[in-house]
Amino acid sequence: MGQDALTQRYLPVLIVIIISFIIGFSMLLISRLIRPKRPYTLKLTPYECGIPSTEDTWERFNVKFYIVALVFVIFDVEIIFLYPWALVYKKIGFYALLEMYLFIFILLIGYFYAIGKKVFNWSKE
């Protein structure tokens, strides 16, 4: 057991990664050999409905996207802790169960506080 069983189980994952990479790469390579290549400046400018683009693209953007990322981190951690709990639900005692309800309750306090503070109001109002 141990290491051998582990490599046995994960070997197909490695093979699938390699094969799917080879598929994507080889198709790009074949297509590279047979497709035309006639670049000129206007073709290579970024698409902007015909108007020459000004200033820099990677400028600052709406803070909403950032808030989505922040809230996502918090909820992601909470959900990942729900999985071991869900898995051993039948095996753990009553107090352990209460424990998790308390955890979800704290989660909901934060969630409703955020709703009250209008974190999730995405429209401009």
């Binding site: 057991m1 141990g2 290491q3 069983a5 582990l6 490599t7 994960y10 820099d56 990677w58 400028e59 600052r60 953007f61 803070v63 996207f65 950032y66 808030i67 990322a69 922040l70 809230v71 996502f72 981190v73 918090i74 992601d76 951690v77 909470e78 990942i80 802790f81 999985y83 071991p84 709990w85 898995l87 051993v88 095996k91 753990i92 005692g93 107090y95 352990a96 424990e99 998790m100 308390l102 955890f103 704290i106 989660l107 306090i109 934060g110 969630y111 506080y113 955020a114 503070k117 209008k118 974190v119």
Partner: protein, 167 residues
């Protein structure tokens, strides 16, 4: 065979870390970090810690690094600021070098083999890694889980404040 794979992962992790540290563009640094986290996940698999490997990918690579990337985008940082930093001074370099050496000496001089607990390999193999972790987490460390809930509540309040200020 398995030692060869293990050696590859250890060696490439050092290389990837160096690449992440030396990139000028912060977005490239974050991407090398992503590669590093995926390699760390494989190292967890070598320890038979499947759940930890998945947590490494979902939480670190999938959530925290995305947040880093969004932070870099939000600040519009194309290159790292060029100003003088403390680490550029000779004193700073010496201090960091010495303290790192101290940490390494401290770490390597206190290596002991782990004691045998009640969670043996056979037990974990039998009921599965994630289940063993769940049983232990919820039966033996209830306070830690409770504290975790509180710790997650605090950033939620912080986000609410950020969103409120942004309006």
């Amino acid at each position: 065979m398995i030692y060869l794979i293990f050696a590859y992962f250890c060696a490439s992790m050092i290389g990837i870390t160096l690449m992440a540290l030396t990139r000028k563009n912060p977005v490239h640094s974050v991407l090398w970090l992503l590669l590093l986290f995926l390699h760390i996940a494989v190292l967890y698999l070598f320890l038979n810690a499947e759940f930890l490997a998945v947590v490494q990918v979902i939480v670190y690579a999938g959530a925290i690094l995305v947040m880093f990337l969004f932070t870099v985008f939000l600040l519009g940082a194309k290159e790292l600021p060029k100003g003088k930093r403390y680490t550029d001074l000779p004193e700073g370099k010496a201090l960091i070098g010495l303290s790192l050496t101290g940490v390494f000496i401290g770490a390597f001089s206190s290596i002991t083999t782990a004691w045998k607990g009640k969670y043996t390999i056979e037990y974990i193999e039998k009921i599965g890694n994630t289940k063993a972790l769940g049983v232990m987490l919820f039966n033996e460390y209830p306070l830690a889980v409770f504290l975790l809930g509180i710790i997650l509540l605090i950033p939620m309040i912080a986000v609410a404040v950020i969103a409120w200020r942004a309006k």
